[in-house]
Symmetry: C2
Subunit: 386 residues, 2 copies
């Protein structure tokens, strides 16, 4: 049994292969199978109005709260591919179902990679035939196969009392991922109802993947799927389930932040003193997406004036004369003005915590995690397709 990843919990098998979708020849297809005895499932998907064919197929499949398998490919997102793309996603679903002994409606499909190209279905079909014949304790291989620009495979394990959650992921942020897509697959041997799993997943994503915002862009393919086999025979209560799912998601989100494209700094933006949590989140996102704030972070520049200029455009109530800012615990701005020594705060380390108080006296609070805007980000994203 693996010590990490999707085949660590009881009742799951996986496999991966190189189907030739990536020009590099690296592994690019995987399947994760729930071997039961239960087949409970839950999922959350991208909120982009332009969503990919596999999202449409998977959303329908998981709606009944049951999945036996998820098939993955990297190298091609099967997004913006019209009727043919939908047909291809359905073919992936059907072939995987046949291979693992399931109904098509019990299989979800996740694709990541370039947008707008049709899948090379001959290669995909060979890939599915290969993975369904190699099922075993190969979660690590599956985590490798879903990588695109990720520099490391991402696997976690969270232990409950007599049950476990394993998970793999790729990409950098649900609400606002960087290049291509965030895909996550969680597996657990807990014996839980689909609604309990869906609740835990929605609660966890709200404060983990949904507040990880690398570059403000949101993919057409983002998908987080959880499958529960019930193989441990243990039913955690909702609080325990919530805590463990949150922990798995938080660990993966932290790995995605550290591995984001071109990152040299991990930046957390906390907004306090807002009228409510939603306004705090609006303000934190606005700061976290501001190019001038992000380039200052890259330059290790304690330029709090850019933070104020950014937050002033946020859809949030604030006292414009009573905003305060700290960088890594050092107060740099009070009453919307400079604090002596503010320009000397050392931000040369790789972690920067920004805390902004909007001065309304309210209890609203939220944190967004982002990265700096670096030369490497520009390089990776200007040279991706051509």
């Amino acid at each position: 049994m693996s010590t990490l990843g999707v085949t660590a919990p009881q009742g799951f098998s996986a496999a991966a292969t190189s189907a030739g979708l990536k020009a590099s020849g690296k592994p690019d297809m995987a399947v994760v199978v729930n071997d039961g005895p239960e087949y409970t499932a839950a999922a959350v998907f991208t909120r982009n109005k332009v969503f990919a064919a596999p999202v449409k197929v998977s959303r329908a499949a998981v709606s009944a709260g049951e999945l036996k398998a998820v098939v993955f490919n990297s190298g091609n997102a099967n997004a913006c591919t019209g009727e043919q793309g939908l047909h291809d996603a359905q073919t992936m679903q059907r072939l995987t179902a046949e291979g693992v002994g399931a109904e098509p409606a019990q299989v979800a499909v996740c694709s990541t990679g370039i947008i707008g190209d049709l899948l090379p279905m001959e290669k995909v079909e060979s890939g599915i035939a290969a993975v369904v014949n190699q099922l075993g304790d190969h979660g690590a291989d599956a985590a490798e196969a879903i990588r695109t620009t990720d520099t490391i495979a991402k696997e976690v394990l969270v232990k409950g009392d007599g049950w476990t959650i394993g998970a793999m992921g790729k990409g950098a942020g649900m609400m606002a991922p960087s290049l291509a897509t965030m895909l996550v697959c969680l597996t657990t041997d807990a014996k839980v109802e689909a609604q309990a799993l869906q609740t835990a997943l929605e609660r966890a994503t709200a404060t983990t993947f949904n507040t990880l915002d690398i570059d403000g862009s949101t993919s057409t393919n983002d998908t987080v799927i959880a499958m529960a086999s019930g193989a441990s025979g243990v039913t955690p209560d909702q609080d325990e389930l919530d805590a463990a799912v949150h922990e798995a998601c938080a660990q993966l989100a932290a790995m995605m932040q550290s591995d984001a494209e071109g990152v040299t700094k991990r930046v957390s933006i906390t907004v306090e003193g807002a009228a409510d949590d939603e306004q705090a989140l609006n303000a934190a996102r606005t700061i976290g997406r501001d190019s001038l704030v992000k380039t200052a972070m890259f330059g290790s520049d304690p330029n709090w004036g850019r933070v104020l200029a950014a937050v002033g455009m946020a859809d949030a109530e604030m006292d414009a004369d009573n905003i305060s800012v700290t960088f890594n615990g050092h107060t740099v701005c009070e009453y919307s003005g400079a604090v002596p020594g503010a320009r000397d705060v050392d931000l040369s380390g790789s972690d920067i915590a920004v805390v902004v108080d909007l001065g309304t006296g309210g209890e609203g609070r939220a944190t967004v995690r982002t990265t700096d805007l670096s030369h490497a980000y520009v390089e990776i994203n200007s040279a991706y397709t051509s």
Copy 2:
């Protein structure tokens, strides 16, 4: 008489000096004086909730529809500077008024540069004393003195029938300027009412500076001021005035786009087929601010999939299966899918026109002008203060 800029129309004088606000020793203070016989004025200002002291002072001054002078400094924005900053802006206003023979309430103040530092008022006071004693046909010097990261001074002239508009500007975009601030000063010898001038200015900025969006950030100091001397004795009708003010603003906006920080591409984003113009503008802004679209432009990459992924997050009605995209007139996406040859479109030139049809069948249409996201942008903005 100058052939360009703020002293080209009859009835205006200007001067500039090096007051020592810029470490480089380059010119950093200027004054533009309306010598009458009329002193009509209009202005628009930043919509940022965090706005600088000179904006507060100038907003109050222009509210009566009359100005005799505008004093400018670069090198320091006098933003986020609290009560002292407001006092300093008022001192600039009062000293300039004394120097040019006006009431303080007839003088506007414009500052641009670093946020959060107090103005070195001894230098500022010497600078004002210098410029008010050197007034003459020095519009070109004033345009030089308001530069920050601008690589060229920006001056224009628009001729009416017996009257003219001159203008100078710095920066890169009213709604969403790049580093620091956009400042514009228009002068005209037309004989017009303040309300007519304000109407013309608001109409012009809506489709010029307000749709120039370099990096989604909005300054604390953005200001566009127009002054009319009436010295030509000619009163254009509203249409003529609108057209000339629009032309002057459009020319300056084009110069700002070309001179934006780190720009290697001038990109126009037009959205058509929207339910209304406002939704078209939302969609165009969302595309124009997307880092993945902007890095693709830097890489001359016809990556229309990123355009679809971006527009899918816009607050605009769309038919997600019927979006089309053209790059420089070449159709690259129809029915939200690829057109053969789309990846081969040549975007190596410095101008890229993106047209997106949202497929709703509506008449809504808007254009936003932006730039690519380049290595130079990151370099300039990560090394600005420290």
